[in-house]
Structures are given as structure tokens and as C-alpha cells.
Symmetry: C2
Subunit: 205 residues, 2 copies
DNA sequence: TAGATTGTTAATCGATTAACAATC
DNA sequence: TAGATTGTTAATCGATTAACAATC
């Protein structure tokens, strides 16, 4: 199928909006309505939906329930995705709060830190464990995805341990690019860059 | 000059790496070294640097100090950028910690919340003020950029107030796309999407 | 000099948009 | 039917990469 990263991002946003919309009672949407919500074009919405294989009706548009189901079939692993988080600082806490209860297919199975004062604490319902437990939990729970919310200085060594233990996908919040071997996917969430980009581009708009 | 968003993102990362590298004593870098650090190509690095106007040496590469200065001239507003943050929850706290002391050209001039229990608290050295003060501070400090770290439900009304008060650039951490008029730049930092993207693409790599 | 690197243009690649027949 | 919308292909656009003369 080979969905592009851009398409996957948009699908994720469509689904989130549709889930909200579903609660408001509307049963169907037109491509131009979805486009308006994401400030995109109707053509792109239809193209994205074509790629996931959901189909609409030439007069009534797309059924919301259909869309959510079709997008979820593409985005979610039916077996669920087990996730660990490393770095229980402000950012880690924020990430945990953000994920909690948002998507049933994403399951946090461990949060780790090397700070003894954090180990044992419960954050958003997840108990923080010692980083020494990392490899054991990854193996035991067959963890495939990890979130790095450590300081920049330890992000690479943490990444190396995660990859060695079998993690195949990483969301990196640390302000450092990570070096990973072929076959590991890294998604960067770069807060510092986002801010600098806005300040720069705001002046040229 | 019209730098593309992608180029600006990479410049921000180059600079951050170079600032670290500068501390390690190296005085110059080759394009292929920078490329390796960001997992990119040397051709793209040279192209990006060409666009900012810094120039290298055909044998010695680029001087680190030159690069940092040249990139900063493009990314930073010489007058400094004044920034407000709205939403002093976990995510707001993390963002404040992240920005603090990282870039002297970016200055947080206010953090706001509507929760009385948060107002007056000091977070990473910034005192949280009532959201009622928002417009006054934006006008008084000539704020151009804002960070939204509120829950999804209030992100749009907060955005509307910011824009009405004169903000031209927004970093949006809330999981909702924002509707803004022409001339306002929104940069989305979408944690939920990043996670879903990784879980989806990890399975197809 | 020979060899490596820069600066820049041309070629390639991929993603978005436009267009339109088919459908209801 | 007339009008609006979908599904999909072709055209356009922009960004990345390749190539190479110029430089040291």
C-alpha cells in the first residue's frame, strides 16, 4: 500500500476531527467540509481517502463511521501497539497525559527514568520504573515503539539501548537528531525548531 | 529571500548542532559532516547554506562561527521576538522549560491560564498570570508570537483572541487544527499524530 | 600537481492540484 | 432532469538530488 508520511499525518488528523464530529451527531461529511476543517483542498482529501480505500456517495458524501473505521484499519495495529517512554521530566509527563485514553490501540507499558527521586512515582496513572528495567520490559511486552523525552545529552545512548532491545519506531522529543540503523523509523518532535520557524516565517509572511 | 519552511527547519537544526560543536573546539565543518549529523545529503546542506549566503572554503569547509552567525541573521529577529504562552498545564510547563535559556532572541513575556489555582504560580521562572491580562500584555510588549498549550476545546477561542490582539505567529500544541486569517502563520506540533505516524509507518518499513 | 570540496545549475523525484467523466 | 459530488488520471508545482566547473 505504501502510504506516504504526509498522507498518514493527514489521516490521523481527519480521524481525530471525525471522532469529535461523530459525537456531535452528524452522520456524513463532504470532502470539502473535511478540507475546510484542516485548511486543505477537497481534492487532497478525496485522494487521501481513496488511498485508504473508503468510498463515498456522490450525493451524500462520506459516512463518518465508515471513515473512522477505514482510517483506523490503516493507522492502527489490530494487535495494539505497546509503547515505552524514557524520561519522566516535564515533557515526559506532558506526553503521558496527552496519550492517556486518547487511542485505545496505543498502550503505554512502561515509563522509565534514571533519577531515583522519580522512580516509583505515579504519573498520570503510570508508575515510573528504573531505567535498569528497560530491556526486560521491552522484551517481556514485545515493545515496538518508544518515546524519548530525556535531556539532549542522553538521547542517543538511550536510543541505542532501545534499538538494541528491539524497538523499531521512536518518537524523539529531545532536541538532537538521532542516528539509527536501517529499518528503524524516527519521528522528530522538535519544539525549539517549531518556535524558531514561526518567529522566522512570521516576519516574511 | 523567501526561505522555504523545510529549509528553515534544517537551518535551525544545523545551528543547534554547530553551537554544541563550537563548544567542542572544532573550528570548521565540511558539508558532508553536517549532512551525516542530520542524516541528510551534503548537496542539500550546501544548498541550504547557499540560501543563507554564508560561504565556505574549497579545502577547509565552512567556519563554524561564520555559519552560526549567518544562520542567526536569517532565523532571529535582531530586535528579539516577544512570546506569550497560553495554558500552564503539563505541556505549557514543558514548553517553558524547553525554551528557557536556549535562544536569547526568544523572550517569554507572559504565561497565562484561566485556572485560579495556577495564577500567581512561578513556572521555570515565569509567573503565571490570569488570562484576563492577555490582551493588555500583548499590546504593552508588542508580542508577535504565541504558544498555545491549552486543552483542545479552548484552543480556537484562545487563538481568536491572540490574533485579534495582534499576534502574527502561533505554535499550536493543542490537538486541533486552528482557523486563522490570511497573514497569520500557524505551526502545528502534534504529539498524537507523531505517535500514530510512527506506529503506522514502523509496521511498513 | 592531484585530490577534495565548494557553489550552483540542470535533472529527477514526489507530492499537490486541476480537471473531468461517472454517479446519484 | 439539473446540479453537486465522488473517484481517478493528467498536469503542475516544489523540493531534493545529481552533476560538474571552479577553487584551493
Amino acid at each position: 500500500m505504501a502510504l506516504s508520511g504526509r498522507t498518514v499525518e493527514r489521516l490521523s488528523v481527519y480521524r481525530r476531527l471525525l471522532v469529535m464530529q461523530g459525537q456531535s451527531g452528524e452522520e456524513s461529511v463532504y470532502s470539502h467540509q473535511l478540507a475546510e476543517m484542516v485548511s486543505g483542498t477537497a481534492a487532497q482529501v478525496r485522494r487521501d481517502l481513496m488511498e485508504v480505500g473508503v468510498t463515498g456517495h456522490s450525493k451524500r458524501g462520506y459516512r463518518v463511521a465508515n471513515l473512522i473505521e477505514g482510517i483506523s484499519k490503516v493507522l492502527d495495529d489490530p494487535a495494539g501497539t505497546r509503547i515505552v517512554l524514557v524520561g519522566a521530566g516535564d515533557l515526559g509527563r506532558a506526553a503521558l497525559g496527552f496519550i492517556k485514553g486518547r487511542n485505545a490501540a496505543l498502550r503505554i507499558v512502561g515509563a522509565f527514568d534514571n533519577d531515583p527521586s522519580k522512580i516509583g512515582r505515579v504519573i498520570h496513572g503510570y508508575r515510573c520504573a528504573s531505567i535498569d528495567e528497560l530491556e526486560r520490559v521491552i522484551a517481556a511486552e514485545q515493545v515496538e515503539v518508544a518515546i524519548i523525552t530525556t535531556p539532549a545529552g542522553v538521547a542517543q545512548p538511550v536510543c541505542d539501548r532501545l534499538v538494541a532491545a528491539g524497538v523499531r519506531g521512536i518518537v524523539n522529543f529531545a532536541p538532537t537528531p538521532l542516528q539509527v540503523p536501517e529499518g528503524v523509523w524516527v519521528e522528530r518532535v522538535d519544539i525549539a525548531t517549531a518556535l524558531e520557524k514561526v518567529t522566522c516565517l512570521t516576519r516574511s509572511v
